[in-house]
């Protein structure tokens, strides 16, 4: 086969696996769960104030900022759902015995799984932002939709890739799917934010921690960060905020390095 033919075959294998994995996510109703969360979370901010006779935030940016305080939580939950069992599941359920002897290269299988997790998470994040846009449109008018929301969306997509990277990495080194999901989830939701908080308390800039970069999702809106989830510290009183360029580069670095590390570890694994 020609060189170009080899590459075309590899790409076709990757897309085939991606499609198959996405179909699996649909059949296992994971996408339904993620989409439901992506719709319900922003709706809470839309429905609660009128129910209790309170006014919405004074500006569309304020509204978007308070709404987006929970997007990191959504990204981590969805990341754990989509990538938690991507590799470890094949070994745990022994489905790899059918999958790995196929002529398809293992690398293209793992990349297909990784891409499927990323694409499904991207669609969830997109729905979350579309909900916010719709809410802003109905409350403040569609002309008031801030352009900064687009910047925030791009950072959220980038952060999603690093979250998938972290969870995919644990999936490729751990035996059980549930363990890899939980370890990835708790590292992103608790351990890294705690380290970030402690470092900030002692006035050390935690620029190298990926969850610190998650702050940029709301910071680009020009509003102060707060709320719950990775990168959100409540009441610490610190003022260290991540630099945009450094933050997005760190997120990118985590995504790429953990993707490569996952591939190396996953390729070394053997079915027992």
């Amino acid at each position: 086969m020609s060189f170009l033919g080899d590459i075309t075959t590899d790409l076709r294998d990757i897309f085939r696996t991606t499609g198959f994995e996405m179909l699996k996510h649909i059949r296992q109703r994971r996408i339904l769960i993620a989409v439901s969360i992506a719709i319900v979370l922003p709706l809470i901010f839309y429905a609660i104030p009128p129910l209790f006779g309170m006014d919405y935030s004074s500006t569309a940016l304020d509204f978007a900022s308070s709404n987006l305080n929970f997007i990191t939580l959504f990204i981590v939950i969805s990341g754990a759902i989509f990538a938690g069992d991507a590799v470890s599941g094949e070994f745990e359920r022994k489905t790899g015995l059918l999958l790995f002897p196929t002529p398809q290269k293992h690398t293209s299988i793992y990349i297909g799984k990784y891409l499927a997790a990323i694409l499904t998470l991207f669609s969830g994040v997109t729905i979350y932002y579309l909900m916010i846009i719709w809410e802003i449109g109905t409350i403040y008018g569609f002309s008031d939709i801030p352009s900064e929301l687009g910047k925030s969306y791009l950072v959220a997509l980038l952060y999603s890739t690093s979250v998938i990277g972290v969870i995919f990495f644990f999936s490729s080194i751990m035996k059980r799917a549930i363990t890899s999901s939980l370890v990835g989830f708790f590292i992103l939701m608790m351990i890294l934010p705690i380290i970030t908080s402690v470092l900030k308390t002692v006035s050390v800039d935690p620029w190298f921690i990926v969850t610190n970069g998650a702050d940029l999702i709301t910071n680009v809106l020009g509003q102060s960060a707060g709320g719950f989830g990775p990168g959100k510290e409540i009441g610490t009183g610190n003022t260290i905020t991540p630099d945009f360029d450094v933050g997005v580069l760190v997120i990118f670095g985590y995504a790429l390095s953990l993707f490569w590390a996952s591939l190396i570890f996953a390729n070394r694994r053997k079915m027992e």
Partner: protein, 178 residues
């Protein structure tokens, strides 16, 4: 079952009535207006800004108009400028003619979000009671980040993923040629 449901609803209603502030509590401050405090000999009459809608890091000048409430000249006055209760500078050795006024100024590099700018008057080193005046200002934060960097990084990441996907074939081809 019904009994449990009724008990749950009652509990929720009691909790809500405790959590939500009652109108009686909210209105407890509404009383008769207090009489205006007596003016000190010198007080801050007005605060103005060189730019009422500043952006972050803009240098704005805060102007304070001091008024002498008495007919005699008053000297040895100090005007103290405060941002959110913290002193940022002062102008001392001031003298104001009887019933006259004087404008003092202080430059401030604007920091983002809401701030309260206050000026108070000191005479012979002592703060004059009720001489202070405060004014709020909102500083527009500087735009953070750009669209290009995350787009480029996302594109680069996808490119690297696909390159990694086809790399075994490339490596295989190179090894076979050797």
């Amino acid at each position: 079952m019904l009994r449990k449901l009724v008990i749950s609803i009652v509990c929720v209603l009691i909790s809500l009535s405790v959590i939500l502030p009652s109108p009686a509590i909210a209105k407890q401050d509404d009383g008769d207006p207090k009489p205006a405090p007596e003016r000190p000999p010198v007080f801050v009459e007005r605060i103005n800004f060189s730019n009422g809608n500043p952006n972050e890091d803009d240098k704005i000048v805060i102007y304070g108009t001091l008024r002498n409430n008495e007919s005699r000249d008053i000297s040895n006055i100090t005007a103290v400028f405060l941002i959110d209760g913290k002193e940022i500078g002062n102008v001392s050795g001031l003298k104001i003619e009887g019933n006259g006024s004087l404008v003092v100024e202080q430059t401030w590099q604007a920091k983002k979000y809401n701030h309260t700018i206050s000026i108070l008057v000191k005479m012979n080193g002592q703060i004059l009671r009720d001489s202070q005046l405060s004014k709020g200002i909102y500083v527009e934060p500087a735009p953070i980040g750009d669209f290009t960097t995350p787009i480029l990084l996302l594109a680069l990441l996808l490119l690297m993923i696909f390159l990694t996907g086809v790399s075994p074939s490339i490596v295989e081809r190179i090894v076979n040629r050797r």
